[in-house]
């Protein structure tokens, strides 16, 4: 074992690009991507059996629990192939959600190949199609692998046909594997050697390295995960970020196996990490290119975008005493998540909090959950909003991200909202459902292109505000998961938008306000009033709930007053039980937010986010 390790290190130092394979594994959920990753680590002795926790590559708790990958991750393994040579494999894990499309595209840009895992019992499914499409569009060599062949219900031959028919990927020599038993993993590794192209690139050219991801290390500063396209990086090199322009001294390079291992150099074609020594993650952005400060490359890697927040929401501590803690927690999170931006916000109903910008709704949920779980905060999130441009009658312009900031209607000339150019790829039988969904969300269909008999690409423009609430979930459910969505910012367009307010017991609750298209305001107001009526518990007095645009009430419901509460029988003088009941009741109230004289449970704020569903 020891001798083998030395041999590998020796080989690595030879920078033999022809012996490097950079690839991702893509699959429909539960088709076995993680077990196959684990098996590869095991078979290549990258980790010993006893170190294998399931899903080695997803390190964050929330990632494991939700079964989603949020941060990109790259692991290097050494594989002694049957041809007698040792190969360097870089297994690059990619985020799996549309909020992180940009990160996915950067991760795929770092690969030459992708292992497409298909369940031998389930066959090609929705995400198989969308993920394979992404990989093919990125120009990767596809290695089809049919997993779970140990199951009695496995039908690999039919699955091969499906892969060929539905994805137009030759599947005759698809590798048959079982992540569970380990059968076929060796064949898969051999297939990767033969089917995935070695990286191209010029070792002698000036350094060009793409940043796939970054994270913050307390002792060493920001660490960037990179793919080297030209040249090499060594400790002590003077380097520079091409888009953001900051220079730094390379404090070391290494790779993950899966624990951090320092190496002498990251050479052309290799994937690894660079210790930048920079103290601010905002200076190290996914998609940026690292080059030499003294001998820069002529052109950066293509496709860099500044990750701009798309969605804004107010985050308020239920207990106002937690305001400072919330600020500290946000600052700590930002260290590893530079896309997080915020500014202080005050709400009449909720007190002091922050307006926080996110990449998308999932990003928002993940951040909120981390704040609550890792920092022990109880938070209320208000309804998400986008960045609106408000043109006032006096000729001035205002950018707002919160309904509260919308000026009085008499001062507004017009409001413009951000539109996206969206692209959906879907099997033709679901085309109607997608068009319908787009229309319901104020989308404007531009055109449709048949990519094959089995897939159509639909282009439409859609207001971002429509997309952030539940569009993606709806799209997945209405197309049985077959649609893939991709979008980019298009432009700002004028829209007939109004501010919808909700009044509880006659008082406007700013946290419930929405900016909404006029045509949708009535239905939304009705939906909100009904929903809140269900959620707000009966109080000591009757609570009218009203929806209003300006001074005009457009919907109404009422929470009846409570007349009677629980009278627990105090049998045999068991006072403890009675007291515990009161404590429980108090705990229930503590989880509620008193707005004026009305106790509003947290679910009410969540429900407002979901009201569009029904």
């Amino acid at each position: 074992m020891l001798a083998g390790t030395f041999a590998i290190i020796f080989r690595m130092n030879t920078h033999d690009v022809s012996h490097i394979r950079n690839f991702s594994i893509v699959a429909h959920i539960d088709h076995g991507k993680s077990t196959i990753s684990d098996r590869i680590l095991e078979l290549t002795h990258t980790v010993e059996d006893r170190d294998l926790s399931t899903q080695m590559l997803d390190s964050m708790d929330i990632e494991r629990e939700r079964g989603i990958t949020i941060k990109s991750n790259a692991v290097r393994v050494s594989y002694d192939a049957d041809d007698g040579d040792s190969y360097q494999f870089n297994l690059i894990d990619t985020p799996g959600h549309v909020d992180f499309t940009y990160e996915v595209s950067r991760s795929l840009a770092a690969c030459e190949g992708a292992v497409l895992v298909v369940d031998a019992t389930q066959g090609v499914e929705a995400q198989t199609v969308s993920n394979a499409t992404l990989a093919m569009n990125a120009g990767l060599d596809i290695v089809p692998a049919i997993n779970k062949i140990d199951l009695p219900s496995a039908h690999p031959d039919e699955v091969k046909d499906e892969i060929e028919e539905e994805l137009a990927i030759p599947a005759d020599d698809a590798v048959l594997v079982s992540g569970k038993t380990g059968e076929g993993i060796h064949d898969l590794l051999e297939a990767i050697v033969y089917l995935v192209s070695p990286p191209a690139g010029d070792a002698a050219a000036p350094l060009k390295a793409l940043i796939l991801d970054s994270y913050f290390d307390e002792y060493r500063g920001v660490i960037a995960t990179v793919r080297v396209f030209d040249g090499s990086i060594r400790k002590g090199d003077q380097l520079r970020m091409m888009a953001l322009g900051d220079g730094f001294l390379c404090d070391g390079v290494g790779c993950k196996r899966p624990g951090e291992t320092m190496v002498d150099a990251l050479s052309v074609g290799e994937v690894g990490f660079v210790v930048t020594g920079l103290k601010d993650t905002a200076l190290v952005k996914t998609g940026d290119t690292i080059t030499s400060a003294t001998r820069p490359c002529a052109q950066a890697c293509p496709g860099y975008q500044d990750a701009k927040p798309m969605v804004y929401t107010g985050l308020f501590p239920i207990d106002n005493k937690q305001y400072e803690n919330l600020r500290d927690a946000l600052e700590k999170l930002r260290v590893n998540d530079p896309s997080l931006v915020w500014s202080p916000e005050t709400s009449v109903a909720l007190g002091f909090g922050f307006r926080v910008g996110f990449l998308g709704l999932l990003h928002m949920e993940v951040v909120k959950e981390r704040l609550e779980r890792e920092f022990g905060l109880d938070l209320i999130a208000t309804s998400p909003s986008v960045n609106y441009h408000v043109f006032l009658t006096d000729g001035s312009e205002l950018a707002i991200t919160s309904p509260q900031d919308l000026p009085d209607v008499t001062r507004i000339d017009r409001i413009e909202e951000p539109y996206l150019a969206a692209k959906v790829i879907v099997p033709p039988e679901h085309m109607g459902a997608v068009m319908q969904l787009a229309i319901e969300h104020r989308g404007i269909t531009k055109d449709m292109v048949y990519l094959s008999e089995k897939s159509v690409e639909i282009h439409f423009d859609i207001p971002l505000a429509e997309l952030i609430l539940d569009f993606f979930d709806q799209l997945k459910s209405r197309t049985k998961g077959y649609a893939s969505l991709d979008y980019e910012m298009a432009d700002y367009r004028p829209s007939d938008l109004v501010k919808l307010d909700i009044l509880l017991a006659g008082d406007e609750v700013d946290a419930f306000s929405f900016i909404v298209h006029k045509d949708k305001a009535y239905a939304l107001a009705r939906g909100l009033c009904d929903k809140l009526k269900e959620i707000i518990p009966r109080q000591q007095f009757e609570v009218p709930i009203q929806g209003a645009i300006g001074n005009k009430i457009i919907s109404r419901s009422t929470v009846r007053a409570v007349r009677k509460d629980v009278l627990a029988k105090c049998y045999g003088g068991d006072i403890s039980r009675k007291r515990k009941l009161l404590e429980k009741q108090k705990e229930g109230k503590r989880r509620m937010k008193a707005i004026g004289s009305v106790d509003v449970p947290q679910e009410a704020f969540l429900a407002v986010l979901k009201v569009g569903d029904e």
Binding site: K569, Y571, G573, I575, R579, L582
Partner: protein
């Protein structure tokens, strides 16, 4: 309740002034029940062994002198009458022997096990009150609750109990399945006609761990809606009041002079002992120290604790097999003086006497005027209590119906967690 001034133990108040004995056996388990009780056969040897164990425990306490000041005792369940005349009779006799100052002895009974022989035995043995678990006088409702008796038997047994010369109470439940406004009125009228002098009225509470809890966990039970409960409680207050039964506690109505003194002990902060599986007791520091002599397993009293609440957690079989007090398992709660006072405020708010001026004075002193008055201001403003000329604060109709709001406010005055322990 006897006048405190005439109480011979006034100078050196007793450690324990009330005694509760729990009989955790029933003919069958009712569908709503989550009490510590179990269905048993009437000839189960465990019943006799368990009763014998309680008698041994009483003897142990007598030898300590802990029961000398006991004025009231209560045999509850479960179904004490299920023990039968012989076993129950000897238990009652032991209670009397153990508590020389006893002025009131109540016993719970169910109509189906309250035979003439048992009634006679209770009356002769010195039981002063019998509390009959009637619940309803409608056959369909009784069946829906899973009760073992029917309405005719309940009426007949109530009358027999009244004729026996005992003070008779009966328990009723409202907001139960199948109950209508009309059937509820008929049930109230029926027990009034039977001549009972005391009625307890409880709205059905659907407990998670009961059969009803499982049945109604996903279904909204319209019969149990808080509005229905309120309407039924108001109906009961009206009907019973018209018949001369005055509400003296949130769930209890009595003819003048027939209030249950034992029950009042719970609400007025008097120490009591509870024996038997699931029985609850409350002791002051002195009483706890004295009990610890025969029950060395009890943890040492933590600093600054003035009140201890104990619940026996030994199973009936464990009690029967190892009756010595030193062998009992308990859950304990230790309350500071402030916490005990807040409890007293909360419990007093359950009674029509309410928060008396002396109690309020004590609270003002201990908790600080600002803290107390802010809280009293809130409950007054919300109409949960009203101020009486003698300075007491008594629950209003709203205070009766929304007791938890009121009790929650008063208990909410305490600071810190209540310290728990287990032995």
């Amino acid at each position: 309740m006897s006048d405190g001034a005439r109480d011979p133990t006034r100078e050196n108040p007793p450690s324990v002034s009330a005694l509760y004995l729990h009989v955790p056996f029933c003919a069958r388990r009712c569908l709503y029940c989550d009490f510590p009780t179990r269905a048993a056969r009437a000839d189960d040897e465990l019943l006799v062994a368990y009763a014998r164990a309680l008698r041994l425990q009483l003897a142990e306490l007598t030898s300590l002198g802990l029961l000398e000041g006991v004025r009231t005792a209560y045999l509850g369940g479960g179904t004490p009458s299920f023990l039968g005349p012989k076993t129950l009779g000897s238990l009652v006799a032991t209670v009397h022997r153990a508590c020389p100052a006893l002025a009131e002895l109540s016993c719970e009974a169910n109509p189906d096990s309250l035979g003439d022989e048992l009634l006679a035995k209770l009356a002769d043995g010195g039981v002063t009150r019998v509390s009959v678990g009637v619940q309803s006088l409608d056959d369909a409702e009784l069946a829906a609750l899973g009760r073992a008796h029917g309405a005719p038997q309940a009426r007949e047994r109530l009358s027999a109990a009244v004729k026996s010369g005992l003070l008779v109470s009966c328990d009723l439940m409202c907001a139960i399945p199948l109950q209508t406004e009309r059937s509820w009125r008929a049930t109230l009228a029926g027990v009034i006609d039977a001549g009972v002098g005391h009625v307890s009225v409880y709205p059905l509470q659907i407990e998670e761990s009961s059969a009803f809890g499982r049945r109604y966990v996903h279904a909204e039970a319209a019969f149990n809606d808080p509005d229905v409960q309120a309407a039924r409680m108001l109906e009961a207050e009206g009907a019973l009041g018209a018949a001369g039964l005055v509400r003296y506690e949130v769930a209890s109505y009595a003819r003048p002079g027939e209030a249950c003194a034992h029950n009042l002990a719970y609400w007025t902060g008097r120490p009591y002992l509870g024996l038997g599986t699931g029985a609850a007791g409350m002791l002051d520091a002195r009483g706890y120290a004295r009990l610890s002599v025969v029950a060395p397993q009890l943890p040492k009293l933590p600093a600054n604790i003035t009140r201890v609440r104990l619940t026996v957690t030994s199973s009936p079989r464990a009690v029967a097999l190892r009756p010595r007090l030193r062998d009992l398992s308990c859950d304990l709660e230790f309350l500071t003086a402030d916490q005990a006072l807040c409890e007293d405020l909360m419990l007093a708010a359950r009674t029509s006497a309410g928060l008396g001026a002396p109690l309020l004075e004590r609270a003002r002193e201990r908790l600080g005027a600002r803290r107390l008055d802010a809280c009293l201001g809130r409950v007054l403003r919300r109409g949960l209590v009203t101020s009486r000329p003698d300075g007491a604060l008594a629950p209003t109709r709203r205070g009766w119906l929304q007791g938890n709001e009121l009790y929650g406010e008063l208990w909410g005055l305490h600071e810190g967690e209540v310290l728990g322990a287990r032995c």
